[in-house]
Amino acid sequence: MAAEQESDMPEVLPGEILKPFNKMPCRDTATVLLVGSYGTGKQQLAKAMVDLCTDTGLKLQVRTTTSLPLPEENTDTRPRIDYIVFIIDLTNRLSFSTVKSAVQCVDVEYFLGRACFVVTNAKGTSDQCVEMEEVSRLADMYNTMYICGATKEGHPDERTTLANQLLRLVEVSAGRKNVSPLLLDLTCRQLSFQEEQPEFYTV
């Protein structure tokens, strides 16, 4: 029964899985990949992040995609992806399902501090189609933090704050801060061995 079920589902080819250490890193550069479906505000967030980086001397490249796996044609010219941000819009069920299928095309090394989930439209439950519980369950399953923020035009301050937070994480991930991203990830959670303990993720 279990074998039958395995063969029924389309497998992700090993060549398509994104790996963090496939390519050599470059000095003073960082590449971020934003994964989110149409309408989640990736372009605006990307612009905010690049604007923040103009003076710091870090050459930031932000790539966006609506789904993983990434197309094979660009595999050679694409630089090493240092950080992946999965964007979930709580008013859009499709964004949640694309993120759920996208996390399977990513190597497990990314979930040790080189990826995070961004949840938008978390304020105001009136329009929400996806429950916060489902998102937190997904984040718990992959042991990855999630940040609530805003990416759209109406909230420029929140977008800048979110871009700042992501930029800090990206810099660590790109190797600029002499700290391993795993160490940073450890400080963001409370280590407990009891199942019922509430955990809080802060950045």
């Binding site: 029964m1 039958e4 079920q5 029924d8 589902m9 389309p10 479906s37 309408g39 008013t91 859009n92 069920r93 499709l94 964004s95 399902s97 759920k100 299928s101 996390v103 399977q104 439950t125 009136s126 329009d127 929400q128 189609c129 429950e131 916060m132 519980e133 937190s136 369950r137 997904l138 718990d140 399953m141 199942e195 019922e196 509430p198 955990e199």
Partner: protein
């Protein structure tokens, strides 16, 4: 939390590739028939969307869980059948109160915090009628003073539970044209009605009538019982539960063209298109629901409901290239009931009023954390 680990093994596999050991033949016949406007089982399309979910669930069962505590946990299973009253015992059926006043009128749904100092003996109830009449007279202007006659009665359900019925009639016009009818009740809610000390828990308020009268009654309730009455709005998941209730308990044969009507709100970006309405013959929707769920009678799981919704949405995407997942479900109409996201409810048949009220009571209790705190406080005191 133990509920999570208990998700059954058939979790979210597509109906065609079931893990559980239901006979394959009935699934195949369902899939091979072709429906004109109806729902088609699309294993390919659905396999694409539910791929990750089933993998996710398998890791859930194997890996370790860290549940985060969220204050309002929505239940993962709801039973469509009341254990007490839906037996075919004629004695039980006769004992049900007469809910015919609630049928076929457009009800606004409110949820109410616990009422303080509610006396349910006859004298107390009479006093309430007098108080309400006085309140209405005070609110009315000099010209139409004494226009309304208010009556408050108690409807006994069983020994323990009862409902408060408020009727406000105009003196000049007979019939129900300008009058208000309201029911305040607690139908098999998790928090029982009477055991809460000085408080009574009657979380569900259904009202039909003119808006001014509704506001007047609400203000009177808030004043008299020191409670808060808030209009209830339904999320798309609540609308789905109501739809499932309507499908499971649908009456057959009375009306020829019975359709399940789902209306989605299109997000603002799409200029010119406001709503998308999806109509499915009820028989096909019921067949789809049955194929997705194991046991619709006793309890419908949240995952099964999500599968149903996913099936419909992938079907619409395959045919029309419309992403219904990006839109918000705003209205559900079944032959039994009609629910709106704003909080309007219409029950179309008397037999199912009790079940609908039970579901609405559970929604109302979920939205009122005060009631849960009261229950916890009372239990800790005992």
């Amino acid at each position: 939390m133990p509920e999570d680990v208990d998700t059954p093994d058939h979790d979210t596999s597509t109906p065609g590739t079931a893990v559980s050991d239901t006979p394959a033949s009935e699934r195949n016949t369902y899939r091979s028939t072709r429906f004109g406007t109806g729902v088609r089982d699309t294993p390919g399309g659905e396999g694409g969307t539910s791929l990750s979910v089933s993998r996710l669930n398998r890791t859930l069962q194997k890996g370790h869980l860290q549940r985060r505590y969220t204050p309002y946990r929505t239940p993962r299973t709801r039973s469509m059948v009341s254990p007490a009253t839906d037996r075919t015992n004629t004695q039980e059926v006769d004992a049900q109160p007469d809910w015919s006043g609630l049928v076929r009128c457009s009800l606004s749904v409110y949820h109410v915090t616990p009422l303080y100092r509610y006396r349910w003996d006859k004298a107390g109830v009479k006093q309430l009628s007098g108080a309400l009449s006085l309140h209405l007279a005070q609110l009315a202007t000099a010209a139409d003073a004494n226009m309304y006659k208010a009556a408050v009665t108690v409807k006994e359900d069983t020994d323990e539970s009862f409902a408060l019925e408020i009727t406000v009639k105009r003196r000049d016009t007979p019939g129900r044209s300008g009058s208000l009818y309201a029911v305040l009740c607690n139908v098999e809610g998790e928090v029982s009605q009477t055991e809460q000390g000085a408080f009574s828990v009657l979380p569900l308020l259904l009202m039909t009538g003119p808006a001014t009268l509704q506001n007047a009654v609400v203000s009177w309730l808030e004043q008299r019982f020191d409670c808060r009455v808030c209009p209830m709005s339904f999320q798309s998941s609540d609308l789905l539960w109501a739809m499932a209730l309507g499908l499971v308990r649908g009456n057959s044969g009375k009306v020829k063209q019975q359709t399940l009507d789902l209306q989605y709100d299109v997000p603002l970006k799409e200029a010119g298109l406001d709503k998308i309405s999806l109509q499915i013959p009820v028989k096909l929707a019921q067949a789809l629901l049955n194929s997705v769920s194991e046991d619709t009678e006793n309890g419908l799981q949240l995952d099964e409901l999500h599968l149903f919704r996913q099936a419909l949405e992938t079907h619409v995407f395959d045919y029309f290239k419309i992403h219904l997942d990006m839109m918000k479900l705003s209205l559900v109409a079944t032959p039994v009931l009609f629910v709106d996201k704003v909080g309007r409810l219409k029950i179309l048949s008397v037999d199912h009023v009790h079940a609908v009220l039970r579901m609405m009571t559970s929604f109302a209790l979920e939205r009122s954390p005060l009631t849960a705190c009261l229950k916890a406080a009372n239990e800790s005191r005992l």
